[in-house]
């Protein structure tokens, strides 16, 4: 790409593109199971009742896939937040991500600060997981949460 005068190497943009490209195959695999369970009739029924394309998707399809989407988002977030190999090879000098900063501190014998960064990073990751799962539980309509659950007789 450099020969085409497109110079992306060691830029934040390339790093984020690489994160997305490397997570996409697994993410698609994670979602394909739940998406393949959706029948076209769900959206068709909404359209028959006068909903537009976006409303039909938001009210007919989204409730069914909202939980798998939330889980896929969390899985990708946790993978990217502390990702090492791509970060090591592609990070922009002067803007190291967390994993590189931790590695740098440890390799420069700043063990305490490096481990403190690692511990804090884990707390942030689990904080985001808690926030998303808690937010889903509190904010998602009750019907969304009931889909896929068991019926109590």
């Amino acid at each position: 790409m450099s020969s085409l005068h497109i110079d992306f190497y060691q830029t934040v943009q390339l790093l984020i593109i690489a994160y997305i490209a490397s997570s996409l195959p697994t993410n698609a695999r994670v979602l394909v199971g739940s998406v393949s369970q959706i029948q076209g009739s769900l959206r068709d029924a909404a359209r028959t009742h006068g909903a537009g394309a976006v409303t039909a998707w938001a009210r007919g399809v989204l409730p069914v896939v909202s939980r798998p989407i939330a889980m896929a988002w969390l899985y990708t977030f946790c993978g990217v937040f502390l990702e090492l190999p791509l970060s090591q090879l592609l990070y922009a000098p002067g803007s190291p991500p967390a994993s590189i900063a931790i590695e740098d501190n440890l390799s420069n014998y700043h063990f305490g600060v490096g481990m403190a960064q690692a511990v804090l990073a884990v707390f942030i990751a689990f904080g985001v997981v808690g926030l998303v799962l808690g937010g889903y539980r509190l904010l998602a309509p009750a019907g969304w949460r009931r889909i896929g659950g068991t019926v109590r007789g």
Partner: protein
């Protein structure tokens, strides 16, 4: 569909394919004089790189076996018995799965390294240092990393396995062990999946290779590939040659697994499947099972977690075990120490949101009722990309 194909080609297929092509045709990319050569593949099979690949192969095989040997009994006990703590097993496995492999490796390293937490606690055990900071420690960590994959694969299969097979074996006089001999072949697809995924995950792992294995002078293939690019002068063709071997090492067990299962039926779930009954463990059995489960989580999460947290609460210098918050104060006070965490948080938010958006579109295209050849090809490309080690991906991007 065309736009999505363009994205796949530009960001996944072309960078990786060009990088792999570089190993046999360096002239195409101005990286050497040859239009076609096998020199770099031969080079990657000799000297220190060959040693790194051999190390990766045996370590990954051992790790996959350890993952299955631990994951199978844990899945069985959690699904089929009244083992105490069984409700926490699934959450614990997901927790271990979400942590990158290099974090527990750092925790262990900080615990057992010379002048580490263990020595500061007054435990002068150099044999533990030698044990963990060497091949045994690397196999142990990668093996523990494989356990969640084995657990998830086996427990999913166990959920569909009714009680009738065990009952039939027991009625015909089989002991519990004899019944297990009947069940294991029925679970073959899950067992082979666990082994294949464990092997693939271990051989493509970079986290342990760049931390514990590197500190222990035990080179693994992914780190050797990184070194081939990172050292001066960088050798892209050699790195590409190693990538071929890594991709083959990941793809071969997955292909063998698919071939072994082809043409056989393992269908056991039907309308007549009877729900399995949990076996009530005696107090002694429950105690033993609970202790083993606790020991497993202690080794997997507890010890590295203790190593990391206590390491963060100790000063860098001195030999006493005096806890201090000085590192956390430095983290908050010194500029530039929190920045990387904020940056990764932002990268994670952006990447996860865009990935889920694109992943949903890909899932829609793949699950479309009218399955076209293009959708089939996309399925294959995405599946092949799952088997691509992250370090090969990164190298492809540098080269592109």
């Amino acid at each position: 569909m065309p736009v999505f194909w363009l994205i796949l080609l530009a960001f996944i297929v072309v960078p990786c394919a060009c990088f792999l092509l570089l190993a046999i045709a360096p002239r195409l990319f101005d990286q050497g004089p040859q239009w076609f050569t096998l020199t770099y593949l031969q080079q990657s099979l000799s000297g220190s790189t060959a040693m790194a690949i051999v190390n990766s192969l045996w370590v990954s095989s051992a790790a996959a076996v350890i993952g299955l040997a631990v994951g199978f009994p844990v899945a069985w006990l959690a699904a089929r018995t009244t083992m105490p703590g069984r409700r926490w097993v699934s959450g614990g496995m997901w927790l271990a799965l979400l942590l990158p492999s290099w974090l527990p490796a750092l925790g262990w390293e900080r615990l057992v390294e010379p002048e580490g937490v263990m020595y500061r606690l007054g435990l002068d055990w150099p044999w533990v240092t030698h044990l963990i900071m060497g091949p045994f420690g690397v196999v142990l960590l990668l093996g523990l990393r494989c356990v969640p994959f084995s657990y998830l694969a086996i427990s999913a299969a166990l959920n569909g396995l009714g009680q009738e097979f065990e009952d039939a074996a027991r009625v015909h006089g089989a002991t519990r062990f004899g019944a297990l001999r009947l069940i294991v072949p029925i679970l073959a697809p899950a067992i082979m999946s666990a082994l294949a995924i464990g092997f693939a995950e271990s051989i493509s792992d970079f986290g342990v290779a760049a931390t514990l294995a590197y500190s222990s002078n035990f080179t693994l293939a992914t780190y050797a590939l990184y070194a081939a690019i990172g050292n001066f002068p960088p050798s892209f063709p050699l790195a590409a040659g190693m990538s071929w071997l890594l991709v083959a090492a990941v793809a071969i067990p997955l292909a063998l697994q698919a071939r072994a299962l082809r043409g056989r039926s393992y269908a056991i779930l039907s309308g007549r499947t009877r729900q399995a009954v949990r076996r009530r463990l005696s107090r002694f059995e429950a105690g033993c099972a609970g202790c083993l489960l606790a020991l497993f989580f202690l080794v997997m999460l507890g010890i590295p977690g203790f190593g990391a947290v206590s390491g963060s609460l100790l000063g860098d210098y001195g030999s006493s075990f005096t806890l201090t918050l000085v590192n956390y104060q430095a983290l908050l006070a010194q500029s530039g120490l929190l920045g990387p965490l904020e940056r990764s948080l932002l990268y994670g938010l952006i990447a996860a949101t865009v990935t889920v958006f694109l992943g949903f579109i890909a899932a829609r295209l793949l699950s479309s009722a009218r399955r076209t050849r293009a959708a089939g090809a996309m399925d294959y490309v995405l599946l092949a990309s799952v088997a691509l080690p992250g370090v090969v991906f990164g190298a492809g991007y540098i080269f592109a």
